[in-house]
Symmetry: C2
């Protein structure tokens, strides 16, 4: 027996598209993925791509709820950021409807404003964060642009973005770090984390890779892991300057989340739960949809 | 009338070779440059390259003093680092003589050791720093690997390296910073410096470029300048955490030195003298040679 579909949930990231067929209550009944991410599409292409990927599901004339970069400026239709503090009702209220697909609603991102100035933004992660069960003080979503968010009472109170993944991608091709492959030298990773946790100027912490090589402390094959460690360590140091971060949910791909868990443990932060990104995304979409009805 | 040559001075960097014909007292009588930097040469090639570039000068059977990467591991002949505190007599004492060119002496780099561990290194800059007239508390040599050195009584007491130029080169090709050309948008540069001077986690300071773009504060054509500003600002913040740096000599190419002078002024540091790199190098080589005789 097939359970009835209640919502088509869409997570449209920069470089990937994920579509969920969801039953009443938010259960994921089926899923599809496609490589046509939002950053490669023009506004008029989104509706067609979605139809190509999920024509049979869409034929049932169901509501479609989209989160992520489809709502960024210049993509399907800009959904302006909801300001923090932001909960499910807030992001639901900021959703927009593209004219070429009236059954579709696109959720906004969330922004921090400080003293009248836009200070930070996220788009996509807010739906995942708000899909988590409550009881976390912080949610860390590591990645190209890692997010550290404070949650309270089911709302995102504040957050900060660290360009850690983008730094890693750029520096891993730079002369000082050409060596090895990330994920192969655990010891070099931990040494890098410790260097990053010292919270010195990052440009100087990074130079410790070269000094470590010269001194024989960092093997050439461990340079990528050392780099990854320094960057993650520095990110954690920056977020724990003001004291204990409380109970943390880690929301990321398993390998990356595990690196952060290791690094957090080296920083003395042990209250860390690794959570499932897809489940959080689907739950966030469902709950946002409920907040709209 | 040609003044008599007393020393052939050589500054053999990673990517460039500079040769000076020097008279008694260290006056530069003539100079030559070549693109065959030390990082592109095998040990057995150095003597031949030097002969190609300056055969007529070398025919006079004069002493040759080399500083820079020719003495790095795997290059002409490794000249192990002299430990800090290091003055001219110290680097002179650590000079080595390659077997294939007995008239040549290669100066060492200088290293900081902390608690028995190699902590930082320079190679080439020490000769420039020690070639400056006294009276500076700090020497800043901006570049791929910027050096901030403390000087006292004609010796390098301590220093720290920031990978600022390497960070710029890597990040200037990264998605968040593709826009404009460094040196064209002074306002974006200054805005970046201010973001860097806040001394927050660097990965977060860098993300402010994207937020600034979204908010219309940073034009797309100013991204490279903004990036340069954040990195230089963060470097300065890291070096001024513990208070006033004192009287600073800036030792770098004119354009780059001017950027640092601007950024230092924004940090409230006004006692800054821009010095001439070639003159400092030649003076350092001559003084080191005097210390050897």
């Amino acid at each position: 027996m097939t359970r009835a579909t209640a919502l088509i949930g869409v997570d449209w990231g920069s470089s990937n598209l994920r579509v969920f067929r969801m039953g009443e209550g938010g259960a994921v009944l089926d899923r599809r993925a496609d490589g046509r991410g939002a950053s490669s599409l023009k506004p008029e292409q989104f509706a067609d791509v979605l139809t190509e990927v999920a024509a049979d599901w869409l034929a049932e004339d169901l509501p479609v709820l989209v989160c992520g970069m489809a709502g960024a400026r210049g993509r399907w239709l800009e959904a302006p950021y909801a300001p923090c503090p932001a909960g499910l009702a807030d992001i639901a209220a900021y959703a927009v409807r593209p004219i070429d697909a009236p059954e579709v609603r696109i959720l906004p991102g969330v922004a921090v404003w400080r003293e009248g100035c836009l200070d930070d933004v996220m788009r996509g992660e807010e739906t995942q964060l708000l899909g988590l069960d409550r009881g976390f003080d912080r949610v860390v979503a590591p990645g190209t642009h890692s997010k550290w968010a404070r949650l309270d009472g089911g709302r995102i109170i504040d957050f900060r973005t660290h360009m850690t993944g983008e730094l890693f991608a750029a520096l891993s091709r730079s002369p000082s770090f050409l060596g090895g492959e990330a994920g192969t030298d655990h010891e070099a990773f931990e040494a890098g984390v410790c260097a990053g946790l010292e919270d010195g100027p990052l440009g100087a912490s990074l130079f410790s890779a070269r000094v470590g090589m010269l001194a024989g402390r960092v093997p050439a094959t461990g340079l990528q892991d050392y780099l990854s460690g320094v960057l993650i360590g520095a990110e954690i140091a920056g977020e724990t300057r003001d004291g204990e971060p409380g109970r943390i949910a880690l929301l990321g791909a398993p390998g990356l989340a595990e690196r952060y868990r290791t690094a957090l443990a080296l920083a003395g932060v042990e209250e860390v739960i690794v959570t499932d990104v897809e489940a959080a995304t689907a739950a966030g979409l469902w709950r946002a949809w409920e907040a709209m009805r």
